[in-house]
Amino acid sequence: MSAVAIIQLVFAICMKLWAVVQSAIANRNLDAAQVLDKLHQIDAAIDSAAADLDAQHDAAVARIRQQIADMRAAQAATPGLATPPAGASTK
């Protein structure tokens, strides 16, 4: 094998290797970009879930507090059902 042939062969191998390197870098970047994209999607979903939780919780607690207030108002407005004064006999 002549020196020129060896040089051509090595050059061809280097070109193939370079193509592999470029492909690997491209795949790795695509993969990293996909990972980043997925991360942003989950972040948005978490923000949405956190907002849903706070909205549901605050509304439910407010509803119960209102129910308690309504029960007490009804109790106070009904003669005989009003809470007896502190210390009064219940007999």
Binding site: C14, L17, V20, L39, I42, A49, A50, Q56, I64, M71
Partner: protein, 168 residues
């Protein structure tokens, strides 16, 4: 020939480096698993909160008893919600640490320190959740994964020392 061998060696080194997972991407992959668990935790707490508040709302009890029950529930709910909020805050801090590392403005040890805080937040959520009988699906696996991540990535003596310094 020597020059071509050298070029081939560089190409091979680049190839092997390019094919292997980078630290940032590796950490982000772990974070995706953590965040999926986090989202499930929010959804689970939402279901639990709805069930518990509906139960109190529908209970045929006095106003005083209803008030006592809602206050008892809130005393357990608040720490769990705070722990979940802290977990989200910690995972965002890990994300930022990875971004900074990638931009060359932070080290692996900063990512590990943030992951260590995330681990503490996950453990706190497990404790707070237990009081509320709030079992986060996948939380135990998540804790193991974060422990494995911080353990494997801090396997070198230098990293362990640096991390200990950050923790102290």
């Amino acid at each position: 020939m020597t020059r071509f061998s050298f070029l081939a060696a560089i190409a091979l080194a680049l190839c092997s480096g390019g094919c292997g997972p980078t630290f940032a991407t590796d950490a982000r992959r772990g974070l995706i698993t953590e965040k999926e668990c986090e989202r499930t935790a929010y959804e689970t707490l939402l279901d639990l909160d709805k069930a518990k508040t509906d139960e109190i709302w529908n209970a045929q009890i006095s106003a005083d008893e209803k008030e006592r029950q809602i206050n008892t529930y809130l005393a357990l709910y608040a720490p769990a919600r705070d722990a979940l909020r802290a977990l989200t805050h910690a995972s965002r801090a890990v994300e930022t640490a990875i971004d900074l590392y990638e931009a060359g403005k932070g080290g692996q040890v900063d990512v590990l320190a943030a992951a260590s805080t995330l681990l503490s937040a996950a453990l706190a959520l497990r404790d707070a959740g237990a009081l509320l009988k709030f079992k986060v699906p996948g939380l135990d696996v998540l804790i193991s994964n974060v422990q494995a991540f911080t353990g494997s990535k801090s396997s070198t003596r230098e990293l362990r020392l640096a991390l200990a310094e950050v923790r102290s």
